[in-house]
Amino acid sequence: MTKSAQDEAASPGATAEPAAVQALMRPPGAVMRFARLGAFHATRLSFGRSLIRRMGRENWRFTRRLVELDDRGFGRMVHEIETPKGSLSFVGFSNYLADEDRTDRVIAEKWDASFVLSAGRLDAAALARLAEAAPLQEAGRYGADELVLSRANKSVRLFETVAAALAAGRQPDLAEVVSVGYLMRTTAVYGNGKFGLGDLARAWRDGIFSLPYEAEMLTVFLIREFSFALIEHIARRRNPAGAVPLSIRTKRALGIGNATGLGMAPFLIGHPKLFNNWIAARELALARVRAVPAPIPAKAKRFGQLLDRAIGHVGQWTTDDERQAARIARLAKELAALRDRLQRDPGWLDRPRPWDALIAWAESVLSPEGVEMLASLVIELHPERVDDLAYSTGSDEKERIDPAMSLAELKALIERAYDWALPPDYDDPKERHFFWYRSAEKDEPRLGERFSEPGAELELPLGIGFMAARLHRALTRLPRTALTASVAEFLLENPEWRGILRRIQSLAHLPYGEIRDNTLGERCLPIDLLRCKLSIFGAAKFDPKSDRWTRITLFQGAPTIEELGEPDADDWAFPYFPT
């Protein structure tokens, strides 16, 4: 088997799945749209969920090896992690930060805390080196043993409130805890070789990590543990005799916040094979559950429980963003109406292929938020059918040219696979309204308005539909006889088409690789793409701050490290915290 064929076979959806299941997969033309991707919720295949399962299954051991914090909580803390494939170290540095220096922007230069996840054990020299480098974040240099770099700020809304409550010998008000959802909020989590960190291939070769973003998700999970230990330390120093630790109930209600800007959108467009595998895994999971042939009473009961929990979860999902607030309000009504219906007619889903019927019903009457919430809930019902798909979310990401394909075949391929890209009139300024670029300021990915801002000549190649349509137009203008030429001949003489042509060929059998909307058009809302990627990570409580950045919560409801091995450790989808 060629490398290309191996990769294709590894792609979920292209495997030897029963035809009945394949037929139930939602078409990419429906899924890969801004509005649909922007309504995704986390599933049990999300990276945070699969990491929690793995840590519990493999009995990972966590030891707090070093705590050197002063009375105000400034200093450092080291966790060691033992896995069956080797050991890791996680160090967090807590520093003083003036309120005026605290910003969610990636262009910030100071943070409350900084973190590094390293391979192996940290010796004193490494610890001293990281103490210098980590607080500098992007301005520091790191080594191949260091796998992930991150930073976080304390939640101004919650951190001091919780510290004061614990110091006073009581748990904080749970409603307040739930409404914020975290003690610290990250603003970047870097891996894969950035700033000298170890390359992804290194992390994978060591064998501890084998799935996309696994190391980064572990780092976020450990930042959560760091935030617990930090706040308990501060409370104890304030009142050594009377302070109490966080209760498990409070810890569960606390995840880690994250502020995410535009960078995730270019990533999705720039890694189409990986993106295909993420979406294909999700869609195949949904199709496998839709293919369940008959009702199973225990699953129906479980669905009712999950629906109740989801209703509670949505009730605790707040945002100041008007668009998202309206969507949440509608979602709440839709879920409540579904529960009413199931209570009125308990036998409603007592029919062949009950989950298929439910999703088909949802698609006919519910908002995208509602449909995608139900998709996540039914996927949750059948771990035995879907959990293996978490292992198909990686990709070698290699794109290859088929040199012998004729230009006529290439043109037909574009008309078949990029039919969505051809209709827009790209001469209309509205269809080329935006351009994506890298700012000289910390290399931050940004979005500009082409006809009113400078920099469009440095545009990133992220207008895939536009580029595919241009190539199609160029092929259409060739004399018919020229279309017998091969791709290799064409590219030798016309190198300007190499990138988009290779992409088109490489994705020919990967239907979920492309966002089937115009990423340059004025209707593009980057927030939809951010939400899609964040949901794949396992994010919840999306709280958009504009159409270009959002806050979210990760690991809210997740077990703590002490609970990873417990039987219900995986049962934290759409967590709800009665207050």
């Binding site: 060629t2 605290r102 910003t103 969610d104 922007r105 990636v106 262009i107 240099r141 080594g143 191949a144 700020n153 101004v156 809304r157 894969n192 070789g193 950035k194 700033f195 000298g196 170890g198 390359d199 992804l200 291939a201 070769r205 800007g261 535009l262 040219i401 040199p403 012998a404 670029y437 890298r438 700012s439 000289a440 300021e441 290399d443 990915p445 940004r446 979005l447 500009g448 308005e449 801002e453 400078p454 920099g455 190649p461 791709v487 290799a488 001949e489 590219l491 030798l492 003489e493 016309n494 190198p495 300007e496 190499r498 990138g499 988009i500 042509l501 290779r502 701050k545 270009r548 950045w549």
Partner: protein, 246 residues
């Protein structure tokens, strides 16, 4: 300076983009450079040495083949570095083999600077059943079922031979199946072995890649051309973000 493979890739991709390489060519060139550096070969030095030629107007223009027969062709690179066309040349060579009756394609690239950039594309193109040979100056390499083997003219340092930048003629042969073993070329000796290259790659993963600071700075200056200068408008409207104290 110790860097990651990711950093090398990103630097070279941006440098090539900054020089005007089209989307796709920039990625091919960057992939070639990082492949070489990760194995102890001079990807960055060759790229830095090629900067002046890559700044010229036709550096990334297309190449027009001169066909000899169904399986054989010539290209004139006109003094351009191979980093400007590594994938395109190897794709074309494979096409020649596919079209030939004996399954073998032959390509000569004349006046080709820094031909070492063709090697990674050759390795990437060869499947388990096929084989590819390329030779220039004091270097002869073969990629086949047993992996990559490199031979160097006797008495020449392999690093010096591979670092040759001046325009030469490169001869490539691709066969859809394994080529008959070639009798040893007189006057050539084994260069770095496949095992040594693997060891170098493993070391670069384990420790990072040591690069020359001045080369890095030269390429960084070119790579910076792809960034849009910051402005207040772009800071406010370009990415969003706001008050973390809220």
């Amino acid at each position: 300076m110790q860097v990651s493979q990711f950093e090398i890739y990103r630097l070279c991709q941006r440098a090539l983009e900054g020089l005007g390489a089209p989307y796709g060519i920039d990625r091919d060139g960057a992939a070639a450079a990082v492949w070489l550096e990760a194995r102890g070969m001079p990807g960055l030095a060759l790229l830095a040495g090629d900067l002046a030629r890559l700044e010229t107007p036709n550096a990334f223009a297309g190449l027009t083949p001169r066909m000899s027969d169904a399986g054989s062709a010539e290209l004139d690179a006109d003094g351009r570095p191979a980093v400007a066309f590594p994938g395109a040349a190897v794709d074309f060579l494979m096409l020649l083999a596919l079209r030939s009756s004996d399954g073998c394609g032959w390509l000569a690239i004349e006046h080709c600077r820094s031909p070492l950039f063709l090697l990674p594309a050759a390795v990437a193109a060869v499947s388990a059943e096929a084989s590819l040979r390329l030779a220039w100056g004091d270097v002869a390499a073969e990629v086949g079922p047993d992996g990559l083997s490199i031979r160097i003219a006797a008495g020449r340092s392999w690093l010096a031979a591979l670092s040759e930048a001046e325009p030469v003629t490169v001869r490539l042969a691709y066969h859809r199946s394994q080529m008959p073993a070639e009798a040893g070329v007189p006057g050539f000796e084994p260069g770095p072995t496949a095992a040594e290259l693997t060891l170098a790659y493993d070391r670069s993963l384990q420790e990072g890649v040591n690069v020359d600071d001045s080369l890095w700075q030269r390429l960084s200056a070119v790579a910076a051309r792809v960034q849009v200068p910051a402005s207040e408008v772009s800071r406010i409207r370009g990415a969003g973000g706001g008050d973390a104290n809220a």
